[in-house]
């Protein structure tokens, strides 16, 4: 289970309080009736589905109820940053964890000891 930092409440809370809401920073076309089928497909269905850094939306549904954005590593599931909706997409250069890195406690949590 994930521990998620809500940027509005300013607290780390359990995933049970949150609802995932898919990719972040997807702009809905303002001219929906005019765009081509290919453009609609790209907007509506196609996602990056990265193995590594993902930008995604979460909603603190059993807390403040607000949507916010997060940067997470989909290999380790570790959150790199959460930020308020409307804030610009942060430039994150963190390299994704390799498979080997997430296998061991030492590799991931070594610093904590």
């Amino acid at each position: 289970m994930l521990l998620i930092h809500c940027p509005y409440c300013g607290e780390d809370r359990s995933e049970l309080e949150f609802r995932g809401a898919g990719d972040a920073h997807i702009a809905r076309p303002t001219n929906m009736a005019d765009i081509s089928d290919a453009e609609f497909e790209a907007f509506f269905f196609l996602r990056q589905n990265p193995k590594g850094i993902i930008y995604e939306r979460w909603r603190h549904i059993h807390g403040c109820g607000r949507f916010f954005n997060a940067v997470r590593d989909t290999v380790s599931d570790r959150f790199i940053k959460t930020y308020k909706a409307g804030e610009p997409k942060p430039d994150i250069n963190a390299a994704p964890a390799t498979d080997a890195k997430v296998e061991t406690y030492e590799a991931l949590e070594g610093d904590a000891r």
Binding site: G20, D37, A42, L46, V75
Partner: protein, 417 residues
Amino acid sequence: MQKYSIFAVVREAMRGNKGWKAQWTSPEPRKEYDVIIIGGGGHGLGAAYYLAKEHGITNVAVLEKGWIGGGNTGRNTTIIRSNYLYEESMDIYEHALKLWEGLSQDLNYNVMYSPRGVMMLSHSVHDQQSFKRHVNANRLYGIDNEWMTPEQAKAYCPPLDISKSARYPINGAALQRRGGTARHDAVAWGYARGASDRGVHIIQNCEVTGIRRGPDGAVLGVETNRGFIGAKKIGVSAAGHTSVVMNMADVRVPLQSSPLQALVSEPLKPIFPCVVMSNTVHAYISQSDKGELVIGAGTDQYNSYSQTGGIQIITHTLDAICELFPMFRRVKMMRQWGGIVDNTPDRSAIQGVTPVKNLFVNCGWGTGGFKATPGSAHLFAHLIARGEPHRLAAGLTLDRFRTGRLIDEAAAAAVAH
């Protein structure tokens, strides 16, 4: 190939089992193949087998980054059924079910297909209407599926509690008698053995890291941790990693990868005769021949390649199992694991050509593609050999998300299966 039979077992028993040979060979990769399949799961290995067996294409390699069957093929709860709602789905799953029925004989390998029946519990008026709709659609299409009263359901599956006071009362069930289970590993190994025997190269610990293309855009081969390997055609069958592989050819596919979990109990004496699924309370269960209860949980709500999954997902399922079958409350769970499933927006698979010449894709089987393995593999081989889809897979194209011809099994099932 060494033929397996009762005589072989007796002969080997007499000489201390010293004569068994490796089931498939592990050759060095050639410089070039007619076809490279990326992903050594049941779908990829099966496609290689049928390419060799039915299309005479034997200069084929299956590249697997880990060990064959180590992906979702070896991680799933092996439920097999074909009682889906839409014709496109019924076509391919029923094609698969027919192949399951003769697969052990065809492969000379016991895949332990066991048609013990798959029962879906109905708990509400909505369930009842939706299941009856499935039953009718299936029967009109020539696929077995029957509606049962609670009493009939209990007669078929005695552990069911059909009392009115149950936490989740059962008001009926749908049963597909030909549905059941099979042994996951044996499917991968049986196809690998049959393919290897026909000249296919099975190359494990070989991760594809790039797809090389020529000036005209057509594929030339793949970069791997063992160097470049040429290929006239490439079939991608990488399940949860399909997005990663397709990105190497600049093709975007409408997939989201997330963990799906399963768990097994300590072994018990035979107690549970069939497969029971309850979509409404989110639980499905069967008993393996080893005696373990095999229980499937749900997917996590976020994208991930971590192959783990959250604890709340499995406790949610176990809550439901304990309510449905109070007699299992004290059973200990022994192992838990996750696999990365590739879900499409309409929860139906994608099999077809791609915008890249000679690159074919088979993916999106998500939470329910084990049952499809022989059918999907068979039709994928046809697609790669002929360059166009077989009639039975014609609706599963990648471009349906552009044209709008979705196959909305998501709304029809709304549960991992």
